[in-house]
């Protein structure tokens, strides 16, 4: 796997006719077509194991979406929102008859991290054509970000690798959510699909929270949400607990 992976990437170091070696990143989109395809495919391939991990979650989302919206609406959400946790929670809230504002605010809050990932991606894709930025942005997920960053650290930045990675997650997400919508209700109950959301929250939490301070803030947010839950709806408990605890976390650091 590793050897073949490096084979895909050897093309990057070769100067193309349009891009001299000194401006390495410019060559990202100017390289000959076969080289561009190989790099994108390299990103796609490297992301396949992670993409398999989003399948049960996509199926679970589709099954919940089937309770509250039409197939076209469910797939529209997968195509445009393309963010697993936000989609799942939005679909759950809509199935329970939640109003527009809490759904939107909760979704935005859950997706705030994408703004951070977007900021972190910027230095690696600074030289790509401006017109491709919306596409790079839309392909941003926790999964493609993590796989691409690991590759960038090893082999240098490559926007095409990142795009291939994002497209891999995108393709699997569309297929999984459609399958979940169409067949989720027909699946036997013993598959544990009800647990896809909690289990994926645990998995992403352990990917994101790697230091003591963020772990403490996460623990406090959990406790605050549980305490707030009897007073407000679940979405507002999450929102208020996060606003409160993150502010406490920032203030506590400044005072020390």
């Amino acid at each position: 796997m590793m050897g073949r992976h490096h084979g895909f990437l050897t093309g990057r170091r070769q100067p193309s006719t349009l891009a001299p070696m000194s401006t390495q990143e410019v060559s990202v989109f100017d390289a000959p077509r076969p080289t561009r395809l190989r790099r994108g495919w390299g990103g796609f391939r490297a992301t396949l194991p992670v993409a398999l991990g989003v399948v049960p979650f996509g199926v679970a989302y589709g099954a919940v979406a089937a309770r509250s919206m039409a197939l076209g609406q469910s797939q529209l959400m997968s195509l445009t929102v393309f963010a697993g946790t936000a989609q799942f929670i939005a679909a759950s809230m809509l199935a329970e008859g939640a109003a527009y504002l809490p759904v939107l605010v909760t979704g935005v809050l859950i997706n705030l991290r994408l703004a951070l990932l977007s900021a972190a991606l910027t230095p690696h894709v600074r030289r790509v054509p401006t017109a491709t930025r919306p596409l790079l942005a839309q392909m941003l997920t926790d999964e493609s970000f993590a796989v691409s960053m690991a590759s960038f650290q090893r082999d240098g930045p490559d926007a095409l690798f990142y795009l291939g990675s994002g497209l891999c997650i995108y393709a699997f997400w569309q297929a999984a959510t459609a399958l979940g919508y169409l067949f989720g209700a027909g699946l036997p109950g013993g598959l544990g699909l009800d647990y896809a959301l909690p289990a994926s929250l645990v998995a992403l939490l352990f990917l994101l929270v790697r230091e003591r301070r963020t772990a403490m803030v996460a623990g406090l947010a959990a406790a605050a949400a549980v305490l707030l839950r009897p007073l407000v709806s679940g979405a507002w408990a999450t929102l208020l607990a996060t606003l409160l605890v993150c502010t406490v976390g920032v203030v506590a650091r400044r005072w020390r």
Partner: protein, 102 residues
């Protein structure tokens, strides 16, 4: 419903796009960056705690709560492997077993 979906889509796109488009020119104050850095873990933990401890509107901290019980092996696998796929399969398998038994 469709409007809610499109509103969330637009907001999510802006969250993904604006930092990428604008960050080469401006930067956030350090406290704002710090605040935003704490948000993802807090949101996930707050959602998770409710998913595990509440069923509907009722607090349910008990051994016959399969959501809570299945979380123990799920946390263990997440901690040891940091693998999304293994964590999810463990959680779903344990939940399926527990709901069959309880």
């Amino acid at each position: 419903m469709t409007l809610t979906i499109l509103g969330l889509a637009l907001a999510t796109f802006l969250l993904r796009y604006l930092p990428l488009a604008a960050l080469s020119r401006t930067t956030l104050p350090p406290w704002a960056e710090d605040w935003l850095r704490l948000v993802p873990g807090a949101v996930l933990a707050a959602s998770l705690a409710q998913a595990l401890l509440y069923s509907g509107d009722a607090l349910r901290i008990a051994w016959d709560n399969p959501n809570l019980l299945a979380a123990l092996p799920t946390f263990l696998v997440a901690w040891r492997t940091r693998s999304v796929l293994r964590t999810m399969l463990t959680g779903m398998a344990c939940y399926a077993l527990l709901t069959a038994v309880l």
